[in-house]
């Protein structure tokens, strides 16, 4: 029952898979963004876990900080894009934004 690294990593894997599933199923653009956040969090959890259990040390925490910062930035830009998308299509359904289909 000890919280061993593999358990943390499993949680991370669940987060990651949920994020991916979120990205593949959600037609709402905001939902996809949320999936991305989940994936990033999964990565962060991995970083912190390895920071704790391996000689990676403080570097893992530094990287997770960078990831958080970048996720925030990404969220801001992605939301701006989502707003533009909404402005152009009057919907946030990403399936409608297939003008670039082959």
């Amino acid at each position: 029952m000890e919280p061993t690294p593999d358990k943390f990593l499993f949680i991370s894997a669940v987060l990651f898979v949920c994020g991916v599933v979120c990205m593949t199923t959600k037609r709402n653009g905001i939902g996809i963004l949320m999936g991305v956040e989940l994936v990033l969090n999964a990565a962060n959890l991995n970083f912190i876990t390895f920071s704790r259990f391996t000689p990676l040390g403080l570097d893992g925490q530094v990287f997770s900080l960078f990831v958080i910062v970048l996720a925030a930035a990404e969220a801001a830009v992605a939301l701006a894009i989502a707003l533009n998308f909404y402005n152009n299509h009057l919907t946030i359904d990403v399936d409608r934004g297939d003008e670039l289909h082959g």
């Binding site: 949680i11 894997a13 898979v17 991916v20 905001i30 949320m34 956040e37 910062v69 939301l79």
Partner: protein, 238 residues
């Protein structure tokens, strides 16, 4: 069963449940709420792993900032009948199948890895315990003041590796061979008595000053860019 273990299992469950809810929920507001739950639980997991600064940042930035941003997005775009956009069952089944397979692969990989110390071959989970401050903790970053990572992180952003080069924050027993002077917690880098590592050792570790600056500028650019993009423009069709 210590409190740490209980907390771990609780928040592990919350994290996974929130994530699954995010994935299966069709209502974007519920998704947002579940995401709050997941991110907050993850922050607690970070704290449990001794990353107090990162956990706090997670709460502040994610739960307090990013999620508010997301909810704003939801509100700005959710108008009338378009609030609920359903996925097709086929998509859901396909994605779920892929997700299950993916999870199975990753889980099997994770469980297949023997978490042992590369030097002595002992199980690493036996040496390093969550929420403990054992002296025997080796290999990982296990500072003396468990969870007090703010100062080393700040120093690393100033290109000073307190954990590596100064052995700062390590138990005094561990650094006694190299440092004769007593280590004063919270001491600045210029304080007397702190001697540089011997010349014969590896060159100084790299800090994160430059990435920090780059990320700062990056954030500024993103801020400007996001503001520009989100600006309400006159639609061409109207």
């Amino acid at each position: 069963m210590t409190a740490e273990i209980i907390l771990f299992w609780l928040f592990a469950f919350l994290t996974c449940a929130g994530a699954i809810l995010v994935a299966v929920s069709q209502n974007v507001v519920r998704m947002a709420f579940s995401l709050v739950l997941t991110l907050g639980s993850t922050a607690v997991l970070f704290l449990l792993l001794g990353a107090d600064f990162v956990g706090a940042t997670q709460l502040l930035v994610y739960v307090g900032g990013t999620l508010v941003l997301l909810v704003f997005g939801v509100m700005l775009t959710a108008t009338g009948p378009f609030t609920r956009i359903k996925s097709s069952p086929a998509d859901a089944i396909l994605s779920g199948l892929i997700g299950v397979v993916f999870l199975f692969i990753v889980a099997s990989t994770v469980t297949a890895v023997p978490w042992v110390d590369s030097e002595d071959g002992n199980d690493i989970s036996q040496k390093i315990k969550i929420g403990t401050h054992t002296k025997s903790a080796e290999g990982g970053f296990n500072p003396a003041q468990q969870g007090n990572t703010t100062r080393p992180l700040g120093l690393s952003f100033l290109s000073l590796r307190a954990d590596r080069d100064l052995k700062l924050g390590l138990p005094s027993e561990l650094s006694a061979e190299s440092n004769t002077a007593p280590v004063v917690p919270g001491a600045s880098v210029v304080m007397p008595g702190v001697t540089p590592p011997p010349k014969s050792s590896v060159p100084p570790s790299t800090g994160y000053l430059l990435p920090f600056e780059i990320v700062s500028v990056h954030l500024l650019v993103v801020l400007v860019g996001a503001a520009y993009l989100a600006r309400t423009k006159r639609r061409a069709t109207t």
